[in-house]
């Protein structure tokens, strides 16, 4: 009988190209996504070394970080990008894709969007694959039972040239979420609860497999939100074993297997689960019923508290390094220990990103926004994750609900998740954000970010303060 293996071990073994003694193993990469920020130096490296792209058909390019999300500039295409450096990056991606024969979804293509939304949407992302991108949130694709992780630009070049990577094998962690979450609690809260528990470095060196009743109950969108945030807990990749929901999601998408290939793929995908008795180096168990709607109060995604709670006191932190970090965070965030979180006033709301920019997120926001108004002092923007998400939302009339409520309904892109385009916070502006990082300066220098779920962001927009969404459902 063969050894009981985890899902991660199965995918790893399946992709092992070589493991010479004294060397790091070489693993095969099935799919590669590239965007404009982390790829130009990789293509330049190929050119300088006289190398080619080994399998251009296994790579998909899409600009997302620098694209404008306002209608006027967007309508101008690449010429509409006012920042010359941003424009050059987007132009360079298009030129590199053309030169090396890589499929490129240009800014004005309806399929354009955030690379981690586009991959699944196009059926490019499939179970059992190894998928990489020069972007840490590549962990998103683990929702399909694919081993997906972010890489640096030198590794982007390595994948382009060889379709492989050299890397050490990770350890296995299983996070089991039992039970049923209460009202107003979703995948984002589960993700934040896990990060709050294990810490922002808790998953370092591990691949996390998410399991349990609450994970099975999540939609594919929810699973993507959860796997997306794996990196905020330090894990390079998160995984969820594929099931009928996964297969239903993929079937019929443009790049999904077709005909006989579908049946063959499906038979393989059904073998992708952790065997009974497989060894996990670490196990975490959480009950979904214990998770309230959460917000972050500091500058690390582990700085999590219930929205009904108060800003924690750094003095209660025993580790001196962590205590200093929490004190610095409160100073940066303009908060004081003991302050009620539900009384913290927000200036801005950002709904979107590869964490929460999918159609289901927008439906959830609409369910709170419908018939209500954004508070007068709040500027609330909604940025769909892709052109297809935007089109779907408009087909369902969600845009009308958002506009009627006073939200700013925008064009797709990464936008204020990392503020590389014109969408950014001013110093000391406070934002409830559905994105993934509350680091200092992440959404603009001096900007103050509170990470929340889509419904919590909608509630904050309407009340004008961090708000327990359960008051509005």
């Amino acid at each position: 009988m063969t050894r009981a293996r985890t899902l991660y071990d199965k995918i790893w073994d399946e992709h092992l190209v070589s493991a010479a003694p004294g060397e790091l193993p070489v693993i095969y990469i099935d799919r590669h996504l590239v965007h404009e920020v982390t790829s130009p130096q990789a293509f330049e490296g190929l050119r300088m070394a006289g190398r080619t792209v080994r399998h251009p058909e296994k790579t998909l390019a899409v600009p997302d970080h620098n694209v404008p999300t306002d209608k006027a500039n967007r309508a101008g295409g690449i010429e509409g990008i006012s920042d010359p450096e941003s424009k050059l990056q987007v132009q360079t991606l298009a030129a590199n894709a053309a030169e090396f024969g890589i499929e490129h979804l240009a800014m004005d293509d309806i399929r354009q969007g955030i690379v981690h939304i586009v991959g699944p949407e196009q059926g490019f992302t499939q179970p059992g694959m190894t998928i990489v991108c020069g972007d840490s949130h590549t962990s998103t694709h683990g929702a399909f039972g694919a081993l997906a992780f972010g890489i640096g630009t030198s590794e982007v070049e390595h994948v382009l040239a060889t379709q492989t990577l050299r890397m050490p094998q990770s350890k296995n962690m299983r996070v089991t979420v039992n039970g049923t979450p209460g009202p107003g609690v979703g995948a984002k809260d589960i993700a934040l609860a896990i990060i709050g528990k294990i810490g922002t470095a808790g998953g370092t060196g591990y691949v996390i497999e998410y399991a349990g009743e609450a994970i099975r109950a999540l939609s594919m969108e929810g699973r993507m939100t959860l796997c997306n945030m794996s990196i905020e807990g330090g894990a390079r990749a998160g995984l969820i074993a594929p099931d009928e929901k996964t297969f239903d999601y993929i079937k019929g998408r443009p790049k999904a297997p077709k005909g006989g290939g579908w049946e063959q793929a499906l038979a393989y995908w059904k073998t992708l689960f952790s065997d009974d008795g497989a060894h996990f180096d670490a196990e975490i168990v959480i009950d979904a019923a214990d998770i309230p709607p959460l917000v972050t109060w500091g500058t690390s995604p582990e700085d999590v508290a219930p929205v009904t709670g108060v800003v924690p006191d750094p003095a209660n932190e025993s580790d001196p390094g962590r205590r200093a970090a929490k004190e610095r965070a409160l100073d940066y965030m303009g908060l004081t220990a003991g302050q009620k979180l539900s009384e913290v006033k927000v200036d801005r709301v950002f709904i979107g990103s590869c964490t929460n920019g999918r159609i289901e997120d927008l439906r959830a926001v609409a369910s709170i926004a419908k018939g209500r108004k954004v508070a007068a002092h709040v500027n609330a923007m909604i940025v769909p994750g892709s052109g297809l998400v935007k089109e779907q939302a408009e087909r369902e009339g969600l845009d009308a609900i958002f506009i009627e409520a006073g939200f700013d309904w925008r064009e797709p892109g990464c936008s204020m998740c990392l503020a590389m385009n014109a969408d950014k916070l001013k110093p000391e502006e406070r934002c409830a954000s559905t994105s993934n990082r509350n680091f200092e300066g992440r959404q603009g220098r001096g900007g103050r970010t509170h990470l929340v779920s889509p419904v919590m962001a909608a509630a904050a927009a309407i009340k004008g303060t961090l708000t327990d969404v359960r008051e509005l459902v």
């Binding site: 190209v17 070589s18 010479a20 004294g22 790091l24 070489v26 095969y28 099935d30 920020v37 982390t38 130009p40 130096q41 070394a49 190398r51 080994r54 620098n66 450096e85 050059l88 990056q89 360079t92 694959m129 020069g134 972007d135 840490s136 992780f149 972010g150 890489i151 640096g152 630009t153 030198s154 590794e155 390595h158 040239a161 060889t162 379709q163 492989t164 050299r166 050490p168 922002t200 470095a201 370092t204 060196g205 330090g234 290939g261 579908w262 063959q264 793929a265 690390s300 390094g321 200093a324 970090a325 610095r328 990392l418 590389m420 990082r437 680091f439 200092e440 300066g441 992440r442 220098r445």
Partner: protein, 201 residues
């Protein structure tokens, strides 16, 4: 890539945990299409006021640390974004070695691609090196990769662990794409088998 063998240089203290790559190089500097010239952007928002003036208290603005090549910092160094601009900026400033209790995985791997040696040590040894690094221009630390040894200003020796393959990459300054392509037959074999087993891919 420039090989890393031994390094004797000023060590700069940055006693913060969770130094993320957004801190190391803020996003406005990621718009370049080149690897070079990012040293000026290193730690920009901690180093300069919004109107571009140096903040004198920040360690890298102190004259004693202008030529530092070793950085001693807190746990989970390099967390967050995968941006290789972070090691590029560190390298361009002059840093060849980062010493911390732990590193985020992606950043750690990126260092080896750029001739930077990341060294993880237990907290008590970090505390000692952090004290050493606080001595300004006298904070001279020596790192010997071959021997896997760090020598502090008082002559005390600390040993460190490193993956033997990554050690060879750094010692020799190897281009790892070239190394992988040398073994191209193994990739050909893998692809031939995968084509039969998983034709839908």
């Amino acid at each position: 890539m420039e090989p890393f063998t031994t390094l004797t240089a000023v060590a700069a203290p940055l006693p913060l945990v969770n130094v993320d790559t957004d801190m190391i190089i803020p996003k406005q500097f990621l718009k370049t299409i080149q690897r070079s010239g990012l040293g000026n952007a290193l730690f920009d928002e901690m180093r300069r006021t919004p109107d571009g003036k140096d903040i004198p208290d920040f360690v890298l603005n102190k004259p004693a640390y202008k030529n530092a090549k070793i950085l001693v910092s807190g746990a989970n160094f390099g967390c967050g974004s995968s941006r290789e601009h972070a090691p590029w900026a560190l390298l361009d400033f002059g840093f060849r070695c980062i010493i911390a209790p732990s590193f985020a995985d992606i950043f750690y791997g990126n260092c080896f691609k750029n001739g930077i040696l990341p060294i993880a040590l237990p907290q008590d040894q970090i505390d000692k090196l952090m004290d050493d690094a606080e001595r300004g221009a006298n904070a001279i630390i020596s790192v010997d990769l071959e021997k896997q040894e760090i020598r502090g200003p008082d002559g005390g020796v600390i040993t460190f662990d490193i993956d033997p393959f990554r050690k060879q990459i750094l010692l020799n300054g190897w281009d790892d794409i070239g190394l992988t392509l040398r073994d191209g037959a193994a990739i050909d074999d893998y692809e031939a088998k995968a084509k039969l087993a998983k034709p839908w891919l």
